[in-house]
């Protein structure tokens, strides 16, 4: 047994190291935000957010990229939300422990680990080529939807698990069928969690570049997409091109920073709204 003083000294050092680790992460965050905010401060104006680019992308704003990102995220949502929630409902409410269920869960976990560029390859092979959609909002949205699916399923399942068994049992005891029980006694309580998880997943999809690289994103389009089969501009792709392929990299660096800030801002806002939504819905339910 060590002497007390040695033990405490060890703990002092040990915990000190742990505190340093935490501080390192905070430092990283602070540096990242400081760099982005300070170098894009003058760039973010109302014009930047509402005007299209001019003069070979060296002036003007990024409106088409913002709109494009919003459009493709909506399509992602339409595709992944019903499928994701449905799968979660099956897994949590209906499925019994079996090899099939185990297989489904392994599939979900593996899908969440598939690299984003492989989703991009899949999107090109299936949506762009085999189904002949071409490079467009639909192909990109579906590809992103597939990528977001594991996330939506996991988050929805967590939400469903959070509803106490007694809610279901009570309803069943009163003679309701399983679906009726789910519809009235489980879903309303799980919805806040499901929504939160979904919005968090969509926030991630909004920031992704690799899946949309070859399935629909474009750099300089003369207008906004007017149909599902049009190409679109998107903020992550815009940032990528602005910082590596543009013909006047130094000149547009501030615009690149501005795009980074808006992108991070949008993702951050989505995350925030998801968490706030869960908080308020939970509060409302408690009253």
């Amino acid at each position: 047994m060590k002497r007390k003083s040695v033990k405490f000294f060890e703990q002092f050092l040990g915990f000190g190291f742990l505190r340093l680790c935490m501080l390192l992460i905070i430092l990283i965050l602070v540096i990242i935000f400081y760099d982005i905010v300070s170098k894009s401060w003058g760039v973010i104006t109302w014009e930047f957010l509402t005007q299209p680019p001019r003069n070979g992308m060296t002036e003007g704003g990024i409106l088409p990229a913002i709109v494009g990102t919003i459009f493709v995220t909506i399509i992602t949502a339409i595709f992944s939300i019903p499928l994701g929630m449905g799968c979660a409902i099956y897994l949590n409410e209906y499925a019994k422990k079996s090899h099939l269920t185990r297989l489904i869960r392994i599939s979900i976990r593996n899908l969440s680990g598939v690299p984003s560029i492989v989703y991009g390859l899949f999107g090109v092979a299936l949506f762009v080529e085999a189904l002949h959609f071409g490079t467009c909002l639909l192909s990109a949205g579906l590809t992103l939807g597939l990528m977001t699916l594991p996330w939506t399923i996991t988050a929805s399942e967590e939400a469903l698990k959070g509803v106490p068994l007694s809610y279901r049992e009570g309803s069943l005891a009163l003679g309701a069928t399983q679906w009726q029980s789910i519809k009235t006694n489980v879903l309303p309580y799980a919805i806040p969690g499901m929504l939160t998880g979904t919005i968090l997943g969509l926030a991630r999809a909004a920031g992704e570049t690799a899946p949309i690289l070859f399935t629909g994103a474009a750099f300089a389009l003369p207008g906004l997409p007017k149909s599902l089969f049009d190409q679109f501009m998107a903020m992550p792709y815009h940032l990528y091109i602005m910082s590596t392929q543009h013909h006047a990299i130094t000149k547009v660096r501030p615009i690149a920073y501005g795009t980074a800030l808006v992108l991070v801002g949008v993702v951050f806002l989505m995350n925030l709204s998801a968490i706030l939504l869960r908080y308020y819905l939970r509060k409302a339910r408690q009253e």
Binding site: N55, G56, M57, F71, I74, I75, A77, I78, I81, P82, M85, G134, T135, L137, L187, I191, M194, L195, A218, F219, A220, L221, P222, G223, P225, K226, S227, L228, F229, D230, Q231, I241, T244, Q245, H246, H247, A248, I249, T250
Partner: protein, 290 residues
């Protein structure tokens, strides 16, 4: 929740699935060397013709040509010629590209301003990029290992260097940059660097030095910025900048190309740092149908 998403979905599709917009836009894709110039041309063209829409994107000559073969664009900007197998592929897909020449480029070899070298021969440039010459002192400079910057395989300039300057493959330690501008950025920060860019990028860039190039050892070395010596062929690394147009030259594509080849268009070409086409290429274009 599901009901809401279904309703939202239908609503969105109604809003979005209108007349397909893409059909009215002339899609121009490809070379990073040309993009600056062609974007400016497109902007001026659209100002003069408000009912016309042109979209210009980059990605490299290879990307543009692939898009043409895959029938995903109308015009491919190419800083090199289409390869034999590309032409075969195009024909097998019922695409029939017509080549026109838009401008002239004197490919510029650039180094960091701190580098003592002022000129190189074509042969030396080739050996440097093949990795056979590894240190600046071998060509009369300081004792520093040479840091290679170049493009990626989707670039026409990448191919042009292989065909015309190196006649062999690149050293695998060359850093493959995403575009001309990234090469310039790299050179600015790296005292031991060498890179190649289209003259439009070299002319207006600050913080880099443009080397003079000699045809062979002992001959006079000329600068790519020297208009007279480029136009009379003294500068050894010159190339035509091309556009491959899908199908016979008709309609929207022909109209835009006509603007590019007009006096106004060629003035913009020179403004962007490149050179207007010579008489030889003007005749070539006429034969192609312009």
């Amino acid at each position: 929740m599901k009901k809401i998403s279904i309703v939202l979905g239908i609503f969105i599709m109604l809003v979005l699935s209108n007349v397909s917009y893409a059909a009215n836009v002339l899609q121009v894709k490809g070379s990073d060397t040309l993009i600056n110039m062609v974007q400016k041309l497109a902007e001026e063209y659209m100002k003069a013709n408000p009912d016309k829409l042109v979209s210009v994107t980059g990605g490299g000559s290879g990307t543009g040509i692939a898009a043409l073969i895959n029938k995903k664009c109308d015009i491919a900007n190419a800083s090199r010629l289409m390869k034999g197998k590309e032409i075969e592929l195009a024909t097998s897909r019922q695409a029939s590209p017509v080549r026109i020449v838009l401008a002239l480029d004197s490919l510029s070899i650039i180094v960091n301003p701190g580098n003592g070298i002022e000129s190189l021969t074509v042969d030396q440039v080739g050996k440097i990029y093949k990795g056979e010459i590894k240190n600046w002192k071998e060509v009369g400079g300081n004792d520093m290992p040479i840091s290679l910057y170049g493009r990626q395989s989707n670039s026409g300039t990448y191919d042009f260097m292989i065909e015309d300057v190196m006649k062999g493959d690149y050293s695998p330690s060359m850093k493959q940059m995403n575009g001309n501008a990234q090469i310039v950025e790299g050179i600015k920060a790296d005292p031991s660097a060498v890179g190649y860019v289209g003259v439009g990028y070299a002319r207006n860039a600050q913080g880099i030095k443009v080397l003079k190039i000699a045809n062979k050892a002992g001959a006079t070395a000329y600068s790519p910025l020297d208009t007279a010596n480029v136009k009379n062929g003294n500068y050894p690394i010159t190339r035509p900048l091309n556009q491959y147009v899908e199908g016979s030259l008709t309609g929207a594509a022909k109209d835009f190309v006509a603007f590019e080849l007009s006096a106004e268009g060629q003035r913009i070409v020179e403004e962007e740092g490149f050179f207007e086409i010579s008489q030889e290429y003007q005749d070539f274009n006429k034969n192609a149908g312009m």
